[in-house]
């Protein structure tokens, strides 16, 4: 469903070039829960951003549902970004002046839908993840776990083909982090494809497959469920 073919990403840091990703090929099936591990600086976020169309590879190709993310217009790319992928982040990235329900509805509001149509949809998702009572609260009035759940609701409102999570438990204590992982797992059980970046092996263990990046290259691919040795 998601396909990376010989993808490399190079950044300029002053005079020198840094390879954030080196010739990564990877395919992710529909319904997979893929965990991506690796030390900080190993290229995890870069990989996620390329899949989500937030960034373009220096070489190689990325496909979502057989549609290439290269050689298309900016407006087509924006559309894929808005409709096909949902992002969640370590620091939640909610807009501080908006209420929870407005944050959740934001992806559809920027798409031009009127709030009267967006509101019931956002309410339904907030209800589903147990946050209905927090709909009118602003981020500063919410706990870390609640903010991340609002962010998950916002990512889901477009019914994306894939949910991309960058260190979703990185800023949460173990117990709250586990609640977020249980929520992601239940979404996965309902069929949601998920790619999650983490350096926490306890979080990675929720995946159905775990890959490890080392210095921008794919170093290990552990399929779960096979024999142990």
């Amino acid at each position: 469903m998601i396909e990376l073919k010989n993808v490399s990403k190079q950044y300029r840091q002053g005079a020198r070039a840094v390879y954030a990703l080196k010739d990564v090929s990877l395919s992710i099936q529909k319904g997979e829960f893929l965990s991506i591990m690796g030390a900080s600086g190993s290229g995890k976020s870069t990989l996620l951003n390329l899949v989500g169309g937030l960034d373009q590879p220096s070489a190689g190709e990325v496909f979502i549902n057989a549609k290439p993310l290269h050689g298309i217009s900016d407006s087509e790319l924006t559309l894929i970004r808005r409709r096909q992928v949902g992002f969640i982040f370590q620091f939640f990235n909610l807009l501080p002046l908006l209420t929870a329900i407005e944050n959740v509805g934001l992806p559809l509001l920027v798409d031009g839908l009127p709030f009267t149509r967006v509101k019931p949809m956002a309410e339904a998702i907030l209800h589903k993840i147990g946050l209905a009572a927090r709909a009118e609260h602003r981020p500063e009035q919410l706990s870390g776990g609640e903010m991340q759940r609002v962010a998950i609701a916002r990512a889901l409102i477009t019914n994306p083909a894939v949910l991309l999570a960058d260190e979703p438990t990185g800023n949460l204590d173990s117990h709250t982090g586990e609640e977020i992982l249980l929520l992601l797992k239940s979404l996965h059980e309902q069929g949601q494809t998920i790619i999650m970046v983490t350096h926490d092996s306890k979080a990675a263990a929720y995946g159905t497959r775990i890959i490890t990046l080392k210095d921008g290259a794919l170093s290990q691919d552990v399929a779960i469920g096979g024999p142990l040795a």
Binding site: L182, S201, K202, A204, Y206, Q220, V222, L228
Partner: protein
């Protein structure tokens, strides 16, 4: 180790036959600690000598009598004292992997790095299995026993995570030493 107290703890709940003690042990902590019948019976024998456990005989048709074990008042007292004390020993570094690391050829760091890689993959698979057990547990009826089992699984996950982080550090230090040409002759 504390097989002694595990057996006393099991018998404090209920009088049991030897094989029921094993079943109860496996059910409670089998995920992390495996005991065979021999260890259980020799410990029970010792506990009887110390008057912490006694047994009753139950006659069976055409088979030798069955022993039903129970805890004595002194056994209960020692168990309660033990339960109230925190554990003073650090987790023992007696992992088989440490022994392997110790005896691997330090002239061949590549082989060590390959072993580390395999070991990490194995830990990740085991962590995934533990997580699946935890998820199944959370879906089943929630009682006190399930909570304790979940907490033990969490302990297993935290320990494995520490092992993986330590292996990653080993990898990084061995590589740094290789580039400085310290290890590769």
């Amino acid at each position: 180790m504390s097989i002694k107290y595990a057996l006393l703890g099991i018998l404090a709940e209920k009088d049991l036959h030897g094989y029921e003690i094993k079943t109860s042990f496996d059910d409670k902590v089998g995920e992390f600690w495996s005991l065979n019948y021999g260890q259980i019976y020799s410990t029970l024998e010792r506990l009887e000598k110390e008057d912490l456990v006694t047994h009753d005989r139950q006659a069976q048709d055409k088979r030798p009598d069955k022993k039903i074990f129970s805890i004595t008042a002194e056994g209960r007292k020692q168990l309660e004292e033990w339960l109230a004390e925190p554990v003073s020993k650090l987790r023992a570094l007696r992992d088989e992997f440490f022994i392997k690391l110790m005896f691997m050829d330090s002239n061949n760091p590549t082989a060590i790095l390959e072993l580390i890689e395999k070991q990490k993959a194995l830990y990740l698979k085991q962590m995934n299995r533990l997580t699946q057990r935890k998820l199944a547990l959370k879906k089943s009826a929630y009682n006190r026993h399930a909570l304790i089992s979940e907490l033990l699984i969490d302990a297993g996950l935290f320990h494995s995570e520490a092992d993986i982080n330590w292996l990653t550090l080993c990898e990084s230090k061995i590589k740094a030493a290789m580039t400085k040409n310290k290890l590769s002759r």
